[in-house]
């Protein structure tokens, strides 16, 4: 037993260090940094480069990466991103840090290359000394983890309690405005905490090096595991965050002892333990702080500056139905008629994939674009759709159309369940819950033998309809186009309807919406259901495209990249979802056709950077260019007609 406790404490120490850094930065800037794990990875990769590629002394490498590079990187991120997010809405803040999550590791791999990072060696060197404590053998690396954890705990306590910097942090947390008035500079304090936060992330990263393989996903998952501790600390209490980290690590290791090693389902519990705890903490402990805050604000108790990122694209177009369908018809002719004739089979296949992924992306358009909720579980819902279509169509031999609809319904049911437990908790907690649920399902459901089928998935064959076999490239392309259009029509109807208007109201100010008789809670749950249905249908189409329903193709982490792509191009618009889907399928292909292997993470890096840029342009690339395009069109029309310019500045605001 003591072996499990010791290894639990080691793992828990790393969670504790990561969680402390997250809470510190959240306290001072109200920004929850999803990119914390990515920073840990970057610093660890840097340490690896110095210590093992360049063969520098490991302590010197660690000191340089944690004490010099990490704080500089923290300050850089603050200067170029976090500083500008102060007055942004929660959605924009989350999008930007998810961009970091996606971009930093990809950029790191562009810089350091793709060398296999095997045989990673920690601070203690290649053959760490062994110690025997309570009948348990510990190596020096593990002892160092415990030692650093104690040092961080004591150090943080001392900094917060006894130094001027700690006092300033506490003052800024209480009221940035008041501390500005008494002559301190909250921005500089915030800069300091980001430097410190990056150091803590870096320390956690370097300590992880000997314990796990040095790859992005395992780092990100490990840091996401510390989110449970952050929730336990209610994003606020450093001590609780630290203790929470230890508890999560202990729980994860101790549970191993009681799980029979031959049970596949139960084995899934071990890696999911942090996410089980995350969901439990959210349900029973997650405070309603955000809701209380916004209610106080609406009642005039705590007026805050209005968010400065209100999207001009929010303006509903007051056109007749026929006129609004016109651009859609143009698209349909182009996509439906021209593409199949012009493209080769290979590119047509990629275009089909783009349409299918675009369908999944439409679920982001509903949930984030329309309902203003960040759900990080859409890829999991798509995965559930894929699993369901595999079971219904292949295993049960039901007709494909029915199977796809049932797949959508299955995903929608799950979506409603997630919504019911998370919507009342507020924006940030919804993001965390959906992320936790995604990782949980990934560990528990995706791995079930019946679904995973020895890592090749269940075969899914596109249907036949009379003489038409949808396995053919052109036929499948047209099917994908039809399904995308059907889902797009649903989204378009929603945007224009009374429900869409109510969603816009709730997105702007949920409390005030309640006083008008709108029920935000019910609306958000409906939006979850619609988005999940679309994700499920899109997921089953992707399974058809790949001829198999392989759950691991719908990883939660992949979902974050998807989210970054849609955010970059525009979360509000249907064409943006389509363009995002096609970009996601075709762009990596173009890169791999024309650039060497070492550039293969370039698309991911660009998607991540694009999401970060959303901090400045909340509407996304497509809306930005649409405004420019409309401006250009007006100019052209004007030149053609030699008429005086039409004063349209009232209706069309060019992108700032």
């Amino acid at each position: 037993m003591s072996a499990y406790i010791i290894s639990g404490l080691v793992l828990g120490s790393i969670y504790a260090i990561a969680a402390t850094g997250l809470v510190l930065t959240y306290k001072s800037s109200r920004i929850f940094n999803f990119g914390h794990g990515a920073i840990a990875f970057l610093i660890a990769r840097m340490y690896y480069q110095m210590a093992q590629v360049w063969h520098w002394n490991s302590w010197v490498s660690a000191a340089l990466s944690i004490l010099v590079f990490a704080p500089l990187f923290g300050v850089f991120l603050w200067g170029f991103l976090f500083r500008h997010l102060t007055n942004s809405s929660q959605v924009v803040r989350l999008v930007a840090t998810i961009g970091l999550f996606v971009a930093i590791p990809a950029v790191a791999q562009l810089i350091f290359g793709y060398d296999a990072t095997l045989n990673t060696v920690g601070l203690a060197g290649a053959n760490p000394a062994l110690y025997h404590v309570f009948g348990v053998t510990l190596n020096l690396d593990q002892v160092l983890v415990l030692g650093f954890a104690v040092a961080v705990a004591v150090g943080m306590f001392a900094v917060m309690r006894f130094t001027t910097f700690g006092l300033l942090i506490r003052a800024v947390v209480d009221s940035a405005t008041v501390s500005r008035l008494v002559g301190t500079d909250p921005q500089r304090v915030s800069m300091g905490t980001w430097a410190l936060g990056a150091m803590l992330a870096g320390l956690a990263g370097v300590l992880l090096v000997p314990l796990v393989t040095l790859d992005v996903d395992s780092f990100n998952i490990l840091v996401v595991a510390s989110f449970a501790a952050v929730v336990l600390a209610r994003m606020d209490n450093l001590l609780l965050a630290f203790v929470g980290g230890l508890v999560v690590g202990l729980a994860q290791q101790i549970v191993t002892k009681f799980i029979p090693s031959d049970s596949v389902v139960l084995k899934g519990i071990v890696p999911s333990m942090p996410f089980i705890l995350l969901v439990i903490f959210l349900l029973f402990w997650g405070s309603a702080r955000e809701t209380v805050g916004s209610r106080a604000q609406a009642m005039g108790v705590n007026p805050e500056a209005e968010h400065d990122d209100v999207a001009a694209g929010a303006r509903r177009r007051q056109r007749s139905r026929v006129r609004s369908l016109m651009p859609l018809a143009v698209w349909a002719v182009l996509l439906g008629g021209a593409f199949p004739l012009l493209l080769s089979n290979f590119w047509l296949g990629l275009a089909s994939e783009g349409l299918v992924i675009g369908t999944i992306f439409l679920s982001f358009t509903v949930i984030t674009g329309q309902a203003g909720i960040i759900s990080l579980g859409q890829s999991t819902l798509a995965g559930v759709g894929a699993i369901a279509v595999g079971q219904f169509a292949t295993e049960f031999h039901w007709p494909m159309l029915l199977a796809v609809l049932l797949a959508g319904a299955t995903a929608a049911t799950l979506g409603v369940m997630v919504a019911l437990i998370s919507v009342r908790l507020g924006d940030l907690y919804v993001a965390l819950t959906t992320l936790g649920m995604g990782l949980l399902l990934e560990n528990m459901i995706y791995t079930v033998g019946r679904f995973d089928n020895f890592s090749i998935g269940v075969a899914v064959t596109p249907p036949k309809l009379g003489p038409i076999d949808f396995s053919g490239k052109i036929a499948f392309y047209l099917l994908a186009l039809f399904v995308f259009s059907a889902c797009a029509l649903v989204v378009w109807n929603l945007k224009r309807s009374s429900t869409g208007l109510e969603l816009a109201a709730v997105r702007s100010d949920a409390v005030r919406a309640t006083t008008l008789g709108i029920r935000p809670w019910r609306l958000k749950v409906s939006a979850f259901a619609i988005a999940a249905f679309i994700a499920g249908v899109g997921g089953s189409m992707l399974a058809m495209y790949q001829f198999r329903a392989l759950p691991s193709n719908y990883a939660t982490i992949t979902g974050l990249v998807w989210f970054a792509v849609v955010a970059t191009l525009g979360l509000r618009s249907i064409p943006a979802a389509l363009i995002a889907g096609i970009t996601f399928s075709i762009f990596p292909q173009i890169i791999s056709d024309h650039l060497s292997q070492s550039w293969q993470t370039l698309p991911t890096a660009l998607f991540g950077l694009g999401a970060i840029a959303v901090a400045r342009h909340p509407d996304g690339v497509v809306a930005m260019h649409a405004a420019q395009f409309r401006w250009l069109r007006r100019k052209v029309v004007h030149l053609l007609h030699h008429a005086p310019p039409v004063a349209e500045s009232v209706t069309e605001v060019p992108a700032a």
């Binding site: 604000q297 009642m299 005039g300 209100v310 001009a312 109807n493 816009a504 609306l523």
Partner: protein, 266 residues
């Protein structure tokens, strides 16, 4: 105004209301009654509990003791939506409009909440809308026109001046066909001319639709020019109630609110 004498069931009535936030008692045993077709002023120094009382009357704040009746029905402890459905509309001191909804759509939204029983499912299948009904357009346009909002129909709240935003709030509240309109400091941030214009539009709307108003306001000239009944709050207590000028003249009110030597504005 003669209608202040109406003695039918009050539009809204609060009895023995107390509210505390933690240890702070914001309201202590407050009684307030709003007769139909009246404009009731509610004044008091900062922190007297005026906004809290508005919160109680619109269902946002639950009183720890006391009852709230709207239209003669006890609605204590109900959710804000129930208050809205019974004809209570309110405006806010801050954050009054939906940042992502255009001026005209604020009105359309209100109209649809009251009159159109739509459903999410019919909405996404494209059955829940169609050309906006002629009736909806007519009502919305009439209110827009009466409040002089025609020019900014397609603007977002961030693109129009504060005074206009206040009017949009009132316009939206009117679309609910309210029996009681709660106004939280409508003149804050407006200059004298804008305030007068606001008062004029409010009077027109009241003549047309016949609702009662509870007006929380710091601008005493404005309050005196429009209200028929005045409540004065101080430290959570009602310290005066009655005809506006008479109430302001009582010694207690003068001491608490205006300072002992201050004169009531002419």
């Amino acid at each position: 105004m003669s209608d202040s004498t109406t003695t039918a069931t009050p539009v809204a009535e609060a009895r023995g209301i107390s509210v505390s936030f933690g240890g702070v008692k914001a309201l202590i045993d407050v009684d307030l009654s709003i007769p139909s077709h009246s404009v009731v002023g509610l004044v008091g120094p900062n922190g007297a509990g005026k906004t809290t009382l508005l919160g109680v009357l619109s269902g946002l704040t639950r009183p720890s003791t006391g009852t709230v009746c709207v239209g003669g029905v006890d609605v204590t402890g109900r959710i804000p939506q129930d208050f809205a459905r019974r004809g209570v509309s309110r405006t806010f001191q801050h954050a009054g409009l939906f940042a992502e909804v255009t001026v005209r759509d604020h009105l359309v939204l209100a109209r649809r909440i009251v009159h159109r029983h739509h459903h999410v499912l019919t909405d996404i299948l494209g059955l829940g809308f169609g050309p906006q009904s002629a009736d909806e357009n007519q009502v919305v346009d009439e209110v827009m026109h009466m409040l002089g909002l025609d020019a900014c129909a397609r603007r977002l709240p961030s693109e129009i001046p504060l005074g206009t935003r206040r009017l949009v709030e009132v316009a939206q509240a009117l679309l609910f066909e309210p029996k009681l309109l709660l106004l939280d400091e409508p003149s804050a941030g407006l200059d004298t001319g804008e305030t007068q214009a606001f008062g004029k539009v409010l009077a027109q709307a009241r003549d047309r639709y016949g609702f009662s108003v509870l007006l929380v306001e710091h601008d005493l000239d404005f309050v005196l020019s429009v209200s028929t009944l005045l409540y004065v709050l101080d430290f959570g207590h009602v310290i005066g109630v009655g005809a506006p000028r008479e109430v302001l003249d009582t010694a207690e009110v003068r001491r608490a609110y205006l300072g002992s030597s201050a004169a009531v504005p002419a």
